[in-house]
Symmetry: C3
Subunit: 279 residues, 3 copies
Amino acid sequence: MSVITLTTDFGLQDAYVAALKGVILSTNPSATIVDICHSIEPQNIRQAAFVLSTVYGYFPRGTIHTVIVDPGVGSERRAMVLRTEEAFFVAPDNGVLSYVLLDASAGKTPSNAGLMELPPGLQAVEITNPEFWHHPVSATFHGRDVFAPVAAHLSLGTPVHRFGDPVTSLNVLPVPRPHIHGEGTLTGCVLHIDAFGNVVTNIREEHLPSGVPCIQVAGHRIVSVSSTYASAEPGQPIALMGSSGYLEIAVRNASAASVLGVQIGDGVSVYTEPRPPGD
Amino acid sequence: MSVITLTTDFGLQDAYVAALKGVILSTNPSATIVDICHSIEPQNIRQAAFVLSTVYGYFPRGTIHTVIVDPGVGSERRAMVLRTEEAFFVAPDNGVLSYVLLDASAGKTPSNAGLMELPPGLQAVEITNPEFWHHPVSATFHGRDVFAPVAAHLSLGTPVHRFGDPVTSLNVLPVPRPHIHGEGTLTGCVLHIDAFGNVVTNIREEHLPSGVPCIQVAGHRIVSVSSTYASAEPGQPIALMGSSGYLEIAVRNASAASVLGVQIGDGVSVYTEPRPPGD
Amino acid sequence: MSVITLTTDFGLQDAYVAALKGVILSTNPSATIVDICHSIEPQNIRQAAFVLSTVYGYFPRGTIHTVIVDPGVGSERRAMVLRTEEAFFVAPDNGVLSYVLLDASAGKTPSNAGLMELPPGLQAVEITNPEFWHHPVSATFHGRDVFAPVAAHLSLGTPVHRFGDPVTSLNVLPVPRPHIHGEGTLTGCVLHIDAFGNVVTNIREEHLPSGVPCIQVAGHRIVSVSSTYASAEPGQPIALMGSSGYLEIAVRNASAASVLGVQIGDGVSVYTEPRPPGD
């Protein structure tokens, strides 16, 4: 129960990430600290939420995930500890845990943004007890002075309720879901573009129509879903179920996003007819 | 006493950092190795010294800080082990430990560059004993062959005096201090620009005049010191006491350095009158 | 026997590297995981092979080196475990272990690409036993679902033969060797350019003619081999034996590759006469 992960928008040019680690090791010298990603675009809560969603399930039970993308630091935004069946999360209450909450609610929650009631079995507190913080607390670096020391104390076994007052709802971002039109057609959108330029959509395997699907994105049409990158001709876009469980568009040995001119938020149509409705 | 930190200008494109870690783990398999920063500009001793200064105080007592920004490798520059009350430092004697020495001397030292006498309570040796090195020693990579193995042996408890001959002074860089003009005015300068584009000055809280200060930098005037980034209007520069204890200029959700056109070394004026002297 | 290294082309913008670590720690919570490099150019097998070759010898005996540069993922390319006298390697059979195999064969192998017979004393298996994988196995991320869990089980002491069927030959890339012309002259080529812009050739100390060698590269002539970067005049190229054992061309405090206009694959001549043959 002593793995602590870090997801931030701090970059690697400064010593901010190292400050978190120094503080954690000062409290728990035997913590195992793992970097998830420090290249989140500054203040991009949505990107942090997505990147975390692709990886937290692969960590040992009891891992403590610390997410510090925190444009509201020092304002009235709440700082939270969340406990699910599998893991702990220490983060500002600004939506970075949206996918975690939606995963835990088994899709029963609205896709609208705003306060979402805590699904059954989860526990959350607002971090209000200064006993576990690093003092003096700076106004601008709660990662170092609040989140990291709380994560370290969690890793020592301090129970969640010690960190502050229980809360019953947390903020979630709007998480776009594909729209099923019936007749084997649906429209989704681009959620993420990874470092290879692979285009990750919000369409999962269970959304796909039976039969051979066509995918249309940014004016390009891709026929059928492949199983591997290697099955593609160089330069030709392919669609495949990516390793995070979402339909992806890829170009072998190249950036699909560049080749196709795709951006986050672009629409993606899937259909089994030769043409999409209204085309 | 087994945390070893690494600060280098090696970047992350090669395996140079990994070579340090391999050598350390070969000597002490249970060392906890923490990256402070490997994105120091090549050979930028001043930047390495500053980045280290912002973080070393957050590590556990007895941490061994290894700093390898070493343009003089293979020349006559000395390699050092420094022991302070709190930590160990393994580094070339080229100024990368300037802030550590100034912190330890409680401001009693000159701000001029050059050899500085070791403050009381500190111990330093020149690394001359090849018994603890990795052989053969290359002419160009003392990080791997000298500094890393010395850090590893320190982490096993080898006493400082075993590594070489005692020295009584170390090289420091000129560390610019703000100039107090009296009448509530002072001039400082820009020490550092972080990865967010926040502008870090050399002005600390105790330097600030009483009353509501105005800050002038690169032709921009900022009235009053804010407490958080979130308190700023988007696009408007604010001044605040940063997490490292220095007055910073920031622009919410943007790079203050870019927005204001500020560079390292630029002058910063602070005053309580409506205009600075001679404006 | 519990150090696991990671070399990938995943970059640091996503959580792919973290997924490997989560999977490893889920199987062996006490593994020590070290990043060798994640900035290999996408699908650049040759670069991965070279970067690995410069560092694996510096790790403790029994270290498990995991190399995931795998353009053929999901195709018929084999996944391998290789055991040498000193270390374990977990990687696709696409040439990323070329230097490891050539080192182990003491130069007795051909420099041609293709299947190379396993040198004596080495053991290799194709990873075919799904018992040790992370299920479900995605078609596109064997790093997470096959290589990382196999590395973790190796670190727990699972014997190599348990992972699959023995193989007797592995794929190697053509590794260029210098051509000795006799009369103290030879021609080699540029193998690698590091993050400092240092130009690494394929010429080793034992290849150099006796006497004072001249080196010619990209139209520039460098007289004699220096021992340190610091011995050079700023802006002037020098040749020196680099820390990886290869002849390097460097420019003090600058990128030799940029200053000289050198690229990977460029020819390098060494001679002891005032001019190279045919000049």
